[in-house]
């Protein structure tokens, strides 16, 4: 659990599409995302950004949440939140 501060949602998502990049490109075109490429070398997890979504928000984007939830090819997705990290 993060501590008491509310999460700050950013305009990018992580998705898992086991069919790979081509399917992600289709998904991106369909919902207006920009495919920023795979997160891991094996190409199952992808990083998407949506220029139409505000860069930082206190609430998640329900519309895209619904889109990704209903798409049969998306096994998992997560809208990204800001992570507070400090140098030591």
């Amino acid at each position: 659990w993060a501590s008491v501060r509310a999460p700050i949602y950013v305009s990018s998502w992580a998705v898992r599409v086991s069919q790979g990049n081509r399917e992600v490109e289709r998904l991106a075109r369909k919902f207006g995302f920009v495919n920023l490429g795979p997160i891991f070398p094996d190409g199952q997890y992808f990083h998407l950004r949506h220029r139409g979504v505000v860069q930082q928000s206190l609430t998640p984007h329900w519309g895209h949440r619904l889109h990704l939830k209903k798409d049969p090819k998306v096994q998992w997705f997560q809208q990204q939140t800001l992570r507070r990290r400090v140098k030591r």
């Binding site: 659990w1 501590s3 008491v4 070398p41 997890y45 990083h47 939140t81 800001l82 992570r83 507070r84």
Partner: protein
């Protein structure tokens, strides 16, 4: 010969030039040519200067990248206040060039060094996961000196993707040997922070490094931490000798970066195919021989299948109120009597789900059957959260080498406001360890100081220059469990008159724990699950699917398969039913689950204490 760099600030690098006691024997190691050759390190920070006079020769572009905005040139962008020099200083302490007449020198001055720029922009789970997954087959070590805020009130850790990145690195990185993630433990000393509340530092996948000043004092910024695996020299207050930062754009400022020497230490010996125990670090004055041993911490051994895990979980039905002081005692058998029982502990994790009116007032401790008490988290006066802990994993390395069997005691004590209240919903104890009988280890130095003086083309040792036994790439004073020592005659080579008598360690039969020969009937002692037939000289016990040298995922008999038991356990929790598995016959059924993993796949090699 001893190599002494001719850099202007080397004389000030007290932690390397033999001034500090205990001495880290850096110069002797350099004398043997151990200087990070062949190792690639990536510093996950705000980028490093690739044209710096201390770094340009060792800079590795493949280990450098900018994940925030994919800038083709991931060097730091310095602000007027020179803020983004954190990564460069880290990199310099690791691999600053030797004898270049500038600043000081890095301990691993021949290592390749790269820098990921990720801290100077938006940080998300994706950014962290990508940074920790950069070129996993090219980069050996990822160094991170960052984490959740050290404000004494945060409980935070890696996200889903970052945890996946750790898991992939450990299991697939470095060609399957496991990537090494070195993490600077927290700097929240001033805020009474505890690094067990930092999910990166207390992760089973990271090597957490603490700090000490030259005099062995705890620096002001250092925080309590039961999960620290090793400690390194670092700077303290202004009056303490400082760590020289070998590479910074503006000269060589003596600023401290707590993780560096520890990182450097881990760089030098780079025979990474074996995994020693942490006990390599226990020797307060590591001798030269210690530099010969790989210093990959034992937890990699755990991940590579060389160790075992046992554990148990217990949802409470109904949840138990947390009184001002409660103790929960459980008798744990750690798979005793089974072929994968644990006899020697390494890491211990306690995973708790509880609510509490003022989280920071609750001190949580764990006491082992042998009486060692480890404070998993002490009072944190600034943590006023009412959210408690949800499946939070606390880790301790304080029980290392102990026998886990017996009564474990979990202590929850309210050290704050008298009227604090809370409920304990679930607790899970995970034990990581090996089957080695520590009491059977011979006392005295285990790994001889003799180095391998002749290797074959694969790097395997051919000749040790002292009374030692050859095992793979090492020279050992005795052969560890699962091996027996004997002398092998090697036919004389052309130009040599006499045959060579090599003292070597060879594998016992897989059913034996110790033996005097390689046959089934040469056993001298057996693994816990079987007994020695004195007449036959062989081990009698349940045949296990794991006795073959290949890795098997589930070690317990099927109906107790840990994964399914855990799933059942979770179902049970949701259905408020009792846990269906039990760990040991002498336990009440709802107490513990048994979860054990594979027996060692390859001969279990573990460097004994003092190595």
């Amino acid at each position: 010969s001893v190599v002494v760099p001719t850099d202007p600030w080397f004389s000030k690098q007290w932690y390397m030039n033999s001034e500090a006691q205990p001495d880290l024997s850096v110069l002797q190691a350099w004398g043997q040519g151990l200087s990070g050759q062949g190792i690639v390190v990536s510093v996950l920070d705000d980028g490093i200067e690739k044209d710096h006079p201390d770094l340009w020769a060792n800079y590795d572009p493949l280990a450098s990248y900018d994940f925030n905005d994919y800038d083709p040139d991931p060097q730091p962008r310095y602000t007027p206040s020179d803020e983004n020099r954190h990564g460069t200083r880290c990199a310099g302490e690791v691999a600053a060039m030797a004898d270049n007449g500038f600043c000081g020198v890095g301990v691993a001055f021949n290592a390749r060094i790269g820098g990921v720029r990720m801290l100077d922009g938006t940080i998300t789970d994706v950014i962290e996961a990508q940074s920790l997954s950069l070129q996993p087959q090219h980069i050996h070590i990822y160094s991170a000196s960052w984490g959740p805020e050290d404000d004494g009130r945060t409980v935070d850790g890696p996200g889903i993707l970052t945890r996946e990145a750790f898991r992939r690195g450990v299991t697939k990185g470095r060609g399957g040997l496991g990537t090494l993630f070195i993490w600077a433990s927290g700097n929240g000393g001033l805020h009474y922070d505890d690094c067990n509340c930092d999910g990166y530092t207390n992760s089973i996948h990271t090597l957490s490094v603490g700090s000490t000043t030259q005099q062995g004092r705890v620096p002001w910024y250092s925080e309590a931490c039961a999960s620290t695996l090793t400690t390194t020299y670092s700077s303290g207050v202004a009056t303490d000798p400082q760590i020289v930062s070998a590479a910074a754009s503006t000269g060589s400022p003596p600023q401290a970066l707590p993780s560096q020497p520890g990182l450097l230490t881990s760089l030098l010996p780079h025979r990474c195919d074996l995994a020693p125990s942490q006990s390599c670090f226990e020797n307060a004055n590591p001798g030269r021989a210690q530099w010969l041993t790989p210093v990959i911490p034992a937890l990699w051994e755990a991940e590579a299948g060389g160790s075992r895990a046992a554990g148990g979980s217990s949802p409470l039905d109904p949840p138990s109120p947390i009184l001002p002081l409660i103790y929960i005692r459980k008798n744990v058998s750690a798979c005793a009597g089974r072929h994968n029982s644990i006899r020697s502990l390494e890491h211990v994790q306690a995973q708790l789900t509880l609510s509490y009116s003022r989280r920071g007032d609750l001190e949580i401790s764990l006491t082992s059957p042998m009486g060692t008490r480890s404070t998993l988290v002490a009072i944190r006066p600034l943590d006023v959260s009412t959210e408690g802990y949800n499946n939070w994993v606390f880790m301790s390395t304080h029980f290392w080498d102990e026998n886990p069997q017996g009564v474990w005691t979990l202590g929850l004590e309210n050290k704050g406001y008298y009227f604090n209240t809370g409920m304990l919903y679930r607790y899970t104890l995970l034990l990581y360890g090996t089957a080695e009988d520590m009491t059977a280890r011979p006392t005295g130095p285990q790994v001889t100081s003799s180095a391998c003086v002749q290797r074959d083309t694969e790097g395997l040792c051919q000749v040790c220059d002292g009374p030692a036994y050859i095992l793979g790439r090492l020279c050992l004073a005795y052969c560890p469990p699962r091996f027996f020592n004997h002398t092998r005659l090697v036919t004389a080579r052309p130009g040599h008159t006499a045959a060579l008598a090599l003292r070597v360690c060879s594998s016992c039969h897989s059913s034996c724990y110790t033996c005097r020969g390689g046959s089934l009937k040469d056993c001298t002692s057996c693994p816990p699950s079987s007994t020695l037939d004195q007449q036959q000289g062989s081990c009698v016990g349940p045949t296990t699917p794991d006795s073959s040298p290949r890795l098997r995922a589930a070690a317990c008999p099927q109906h107790r398969c840990p994964a399914s038991a855990m799933v059942l356990g979770l179902l049970a929790m949701t259905l408020q039913g009792l846990v269906l598995c039990s760990m040991s016959m002498d336990l009440p059924p709802q107490t513990w689950l048994s979860r054990a993993r594979a027996t060692p796949t390859k001969p279990q090699v573990r460097l004994p204490a003092g190595t």
